[in-house]
């Protein structure tokens, strides 16, 4: 299978702090890849560089063959992001938020109407289509946020902690929506929830101090660490790798 993302030596320095350190990674087309790590591990900075929000200090990444360092405008046409916090226009209705995203991607009115109707149906937003985004619950806002990301038909979707702060039911419903996307679009997901990564991901990368410690399926990482539970495998990787227990 073809690679959707090829990261080569990606590095980001902020003054005297190296947030991402010489990252090399390949993510396959249609794969759901999760980036795990404790706070400050470099997950969000990596996502920001891949989305062309932050310029890398060195290195590059090719997204479906387009370079983030040399061709950011082209990269922006094939990606979409659902940021960590809910990113919706609060005084606009659900439908208007979807229309806004169609507009900023340059869709004509007909296509905008068609795509908005599709997203409303796919994400079951019909009941709340005229409701202001600010009046929605956290779960519905997050669902709208993902629909806004998908409306531009991205080839690569970045989900930065999509279920942060959601209750169990809202999280489960959002997982269902994410599962339905698997295989159709390449997804890079960052999360702090181990069960989320294990449940949804094809492969998982574990980061610490800006470095990628290990990459594999949940089962492979458990085998690598000799742990039965994925959470324990993650803890072992973060605590021991590079601290006398290099893997």
């Amino acid at each position: 299978m073809k690679n959707a993302i090829e990261i080569k030596g990606l590095t980001k320095d902020y003054k005297d702090i190296r947030a991402v350190d010489n990252l090399d990674l390949e993510i396959r087309e249609g794969e759901l890849f999760s980036l795990l790590g404790v706070n400050g591990a470099g997950k969000t900075t990596t996502i920001k560089m891949l989305c062309c929000i932050t310029t890398p200090t060195s290195g590059d990444a090719l997204l479906n063959g387009k370079s983030i360092a040399r061709n950011a405008e082209e990269v922006k046409k094939i990606i979409a992001v659902s940021p960590q916090e809910t990113a919706v226009a609060s005084n606009l209705s659900v439908e208007e938020n979807l229309f806004l995203m169609c507009g900023v991607h340059g869709f004509d009115k007909e296509k905008a109407r068609q795509k908005t109707a599709e997203m409303i149906e796919e994400f079951k937003l019909d009941r709340i289509r005229s409701k202001k985004a600010s009046k929605l619950s956290g779960g519905w806002q997050r669902r709208l946020s993902i629909a806004m990301a998908l409306i531009s038909e991205p080839q690569i979707l970045f989900l930065d902690e999509p279920t942060l702060g959601l209750d169990v039911i809202a999280r489960s419903e959002l997982w269902d929506s994410i599962r339905e996307l698997k295989g159709k679009v390449t997804i890079i997901l960052t999360t702090h929830y181990m069960e989320e990564a294990e449940e949804l991901s094809d492969r998982i990368g574990v980061m610490r101090d800006g470095r990628l410690l290990a990459v594999g399926t949940a089962a492979e990482l458990k085998e690598l660490t000799g742990e039965d539970k994925f959470e324990n495998a993650f803890i072992k990787l973060v605590k021991t790798t590079g601290k006398g227990g290099e893997r």
């Binding site: 989305c51 659902s82 960590q84 916090e85 990113a87 900023v104 340059g106």
Partner: protein
């Protein structure tokens, strides 16, 4: 162009749907006109004659437009919405114009409402009122640029203090709208004359009087401030966009 329309449409909706905009942006200048006209009806003061007062009120009302646009930009910067939009094909010019352009029609609308109220209160209609409404675009340019600058450089909380309190006070006290600035002494007068507020008011007053030769030098003062502020605002906006 589609992208710019989509983004500027959103800016306008966000501002218009905020109840404070309607209350302060349109209601407060009208309330001031009514109150000061009431005083004028009981104790006649030259300063409060409608042909003298209304141009000043229209300029004062623009300071609220600075507040609204600055609040929207700083709120967007504090939220993830702008992060999301930075990853779309929107260009820097789309962002800047998308925040700038939608506020100008609101400035015009505010000015139109003030003059309609003034006409109802007894101001005599003349074609100069139409010119004054159009000329209000010049000070609007300055006030909206200031909004872009404050929104790009300050947090939402700081915008409330600086635009909400400091700017409205500067615009009120150093513009000569309700009293002759000479009363504050030579030092304050020199200071006020170095700022654009008094020039914006005098510019509008000259247009309403039909004294077009008196437009200068006020026009240059306001335009000069507007151009310089726009350049600084664009620079600061681009810098914060890069830092994001």
């Amino acid at each position: 162009m589609k992208r710019l329309f989509a983004f500027s449409g959103r800016t306008m909706k966000e501002i218009l749907r905020d109840p404070l905009t309607m209350g302060f942006g349109l209601g407060f200048p009208v309330l001031l006109l009514l109150l000061l006209s009431l005083i004028q009806a009981n104790i006649p003061v030259d300063m409060f004659e409608l042909t003298h007062l209304t141009p000043g009120i229209t300029v004062f009302g623009l300071s609220f437009m600075t507040l609204f646009s600055a609040q929207l930009i700083s709120k967007d910067r504090g939220s993830s919405l702008l992060t999301r939009l930075y990853t779309t094909p929107l260009k820097a010019t789309d962002f800047i114009l998308g925040y700038f352009l939608p506020v100008l029609p609101l400035c015009l609308a505010q000015s139109v409402i003030c003059y309609i109220v003034a006409l109802i209160l007894g101001m005599q209609f003349s074609i100069n009122i139409i010119w004054a409404i159009l000329m209000v675009l010049v000070p609007s340019f300055f006030y909206v640029a200031l909004g872009l600058l404050c929104g790009s450089a300050l947090t939402e909380k700081q915008v409330g203090g600086i635009c909400g309190a400091l700017l409205t006070n500067f615009s009120a006290w150093l513009s000569g709208i309700w009293f002759d600035i000479d009363m504050l002494g030579k030092g304050i007068k020199t200071f006020a004359n170095a700022l654009p507020f008094i020039h914006a008011v005098e510019l509008e007053r000259a247009v309403v009087r039909g004294d077009f030769s008196a437009i200068l030098p006020h026009l240059w003062w306001v335009l000069g401030y507007a151009v310089v502020l726009t350049v600084i605002a664009v620079f600061v906006f681009l810098r914060q966009m890069k830092r994001q």
